[in-house]
């Protein structure tokens, strides 16, 4: 993943925002597994988007909160964060 947001950071956010014990390696090994398999619900994902917007001090378009998998999510987020406002 070439973007600023890594699987590591996603795993940390899943723990901090949604209380989930998820290993970054597990996300990286199964990037196309649905978030539901990691027990992450839609509100949890919304909280992660909101946290990233605070961290990077900008709003993130492209509806990443609608993404179903870690890979899709990081792709949208990093596109948004690297391609200007």
């Amino acid at each position: 993943m070439n973007g600023p947001v890594t699987y590591e950071e996603l795993a940390t956010l899943m723990k901090g925002r949604a209380g989930l014990d998820v290993d970054a390696a597990a996300l990286e090994e199964r990037p196309d597994a649905e978030f539901a398999t990691f027990d992450l619900d839609s509100l949890g994902l919304l909280g992660i988007v909101s946290e990233l917007e605070k961290r990077y001090d900008r709003s993130i378009g492209g509806e990443p909160e609608m993404c179903k998998t870690p890979r899709a999510f990081l792709t949208v987020v990093n596109e948004q964060l690297t391609t200007g406002v």
């Binding site: 949604a18 989930l20 509100l43 909101s50």
Partner: protein, 417 residues
Amino acid sequence: MTFSGDTSPPSAVVTGMGVIAPGGTGCDAYWKSLLQGVVALDRVDREGCTELPLRVAGEVRDFDPERLIENRFLVQTDRFTHFAMAAADLALSDARLTGDPDAPFAVGVTTAAGSGGGEFGQHELQELWGHGPHFVGPYQSIAWFYAASTGQISIRGGFRGPCGVLANDEAGGLDVFAHACRAVGNGARAIVTGATEAPLAPYSMVCQLGYPELSLAQDPHRAYLPFTDDACGFSPAEGGAMFVVEREDSAHLRDARVRARIAGHASTFTGTRGWEHSREGLARAIRGALAEADCSPEQVDVVFADALGVPAADQAEALALGDALGARAAVVPVTAPKTGFGRAFSAAATLDVAAAVLALEHGIVPPTPNIAEVRVDLDVVTGQPRTAPLRTALVLSRGLMGCNSALVLRRPEEPRT
């Protein structure tokens, strides 16, 4: 769903109880505190709560949610739901009941709620006003709602049967049992039901200051004295109780221990025009519940009173008992264990139901702590617990907004009528 050949709804019984009360967690600790007449009311010492006019309440001080509830449920729920999930675990374990993946719709959940998730909500609103909308977590959208506990117990346990929440005042704590009985009558095998509250956070406590019935007394031993000349309102409490209410035939099929039978219930509404009006409403609720239970006033062995602690309300309750029970009202033992630990809004009646089931099991009426002499014509049990053969208990509850409910519980071996 109807059952052909059924002439009456299936009997509903209590097969599990989980209690989290200011005096103790678990049925055993709770019962011990009731028998000893422990006064768990105390000055609230939580951050942000010490400078408020409301000083005395019943706090649950030995509760460690992180030891009992998974993190993913903790981050999205308020303390009142932590209590609910933990109490539901205790009740399910007591009933030896687990969700059946092959029959997910057989078990449902119904809770009552009156205070909601005030602590969680306050935290998020402080983020909103202090930092901006982006700092409000999405779980605010579910955590402070009355329905949160029902939803989370359902999700956590895989209980996808009939689910509901009653947000109808303190009396909802009794009405959930009628709701559960109806769900069981409609085909559910069991309902996880009850109520828990966590109203001892700054925002929630400030909300309560508008209730003229709230006691602002400073002394934990003098703050909540229903039925006495010194009655000055009620002291609030947190905690509550959850139960497994089950179809009697299902309970027998799986050899479950039946703790009590839910024999009758009725509720009325008399509004907020003045506590004297609750006399008629409560009397009608008592008559209705006894009629459903096919129980005569002489068969009522113990009354768990609402005991609001407001003179007009206490008088109305005593008169209602006289109206509904006749001569029996003056001699039946009446108790209000909640004077020792406070009135936990919707959960107050569920703690009374738990106390009533324990009383029926032990043949002992727990006392009414802090009360010595009463000004009403009732035999209020004070001082020591009283041993008596108990077969039938009557539990009463009134809400600050005008609901009046009565529930009749019977020992399991009492014949169904």
